[in-house]
Amino acid sequence: MEEHKLVRRAMRGDREAFSALVGLHQRSVYGAAYGITRSEWDAADAAQETFAEAFDKIGTLRDPRRFRAWVSRILVNKCNEAYRRSKSTISMAEVPEPRAVHEFVGPEEGLDLMAAVQMLDDDHRTVVVLRYFRDMKVDDIAEVLGCPAGTVKSRLNRALAKLNAGMRQQEGGREREPAVYLEVAR
């Protein structure tokens, strides 16, 4: 079923339809939250709170075809809240994680790429995540972030240039590793 039909059902109080939407969006919402917050736990909280607020307020959504952008706006706000919370919280001890919050199922290089994304500064990280993880148009990102589309474009270009440079550096590092090993072994 097309997504906007599920959204219409959810807008009429159909919980099953909303659950199906959660199923469709949960990976990209969690992935985007993890990219922005850089913390598995904050990402899980932000994603859960995003879906909860979306469920609570879906009746206020005017155009069902804008669901993706609308959820992304909530997500950015929740990530900002998580960031503020983490800044105001003083950790007294390292709490052992009971189990992994997520499972990574992509190619191994993806872990390096996520690390590179997470090293970008806040503005660049957010536009990259919204553009590629949430598959949003530049104009929609501009609306969510409250800035001109030109700003989004320039941030995207700068962010991609940094990521490209970072990934090339990592690839170069990997290629050099065997040579270093041989030198040590000799």
Binding site: G13, G23, Y30, E49, F55, V105, E109, Y132
Partner: protein
Amino acid sequence: MSRETMNCDNCRVLLEPYIGGDLDDTQEREVAWHLASCDECAAGHADMRRLTADLRLLGDSYVPGSTFVVPSASARSRVPSGRLWQSVAAAAAVVAVVSTSALSIPAFAEQLPLPISREVAELRQERDALERRTGELTDQVERLEVRLKNIGGVQVPVVDTAPEPLPAETNDAIQRLAMDFIKAQYSRDTDALRRMATDGLVSRMDERPSDYLRQGSVVFAQMTDVSRAEDGGYLVFVRLTDDEFNDSSYQQNLTIIESDGAFLVDSADMDA
């Protein structure tokens, strides 16, 4: 900008929207021409294509450990916060997890290291068992007797799903109430809806009227006989076709209780 004026700086700025298919035809042609004649920009284009493809893949590469929770209808405003979501595992979540897991992406499934591969194998077994059970239930449903019944002047196919049939008088009264309630939803007759509802449902309708008021015309595709709920109430399920949902895949589940000798609708939930 013309073919002659496109330089490397202009091209680099347009590479991202070029790859995303967001340029107009003229700009797209100009970038393509430049790439065909400039090795440096062509190499930059190849790098960016690979990077953006990897980024798009990356967004869906993290599978959350638990499915996120949809709050119950009665807890719309009491949103679970913190890390509560970890401890909840609804049965329905199994379906959602399977449908969005590596099982649906064979390329990923092939790459998965242990123990995920083992989990995938177990999930496959569970899925096969669920499919077998679904087949059995489908056969069972097809064997159910369907008969036409006149309810409130409308001929409705009725399915006998109740294990212990209720007295005909009770069954008919509740089915009639269910039909009148749904008709009032579509005629947006709030006074009639209030008369047929318990106080609890009235307050929920006042709080979120859009959840209960429908639009357009409705056809009653099928209705079940009434069955008893564990709490002593009554259940009736009505399959509908309306202007929006025209594949008979929309169902209303009504809970009805008896109060002072009258039947009242206590809940009316949509089901897909």
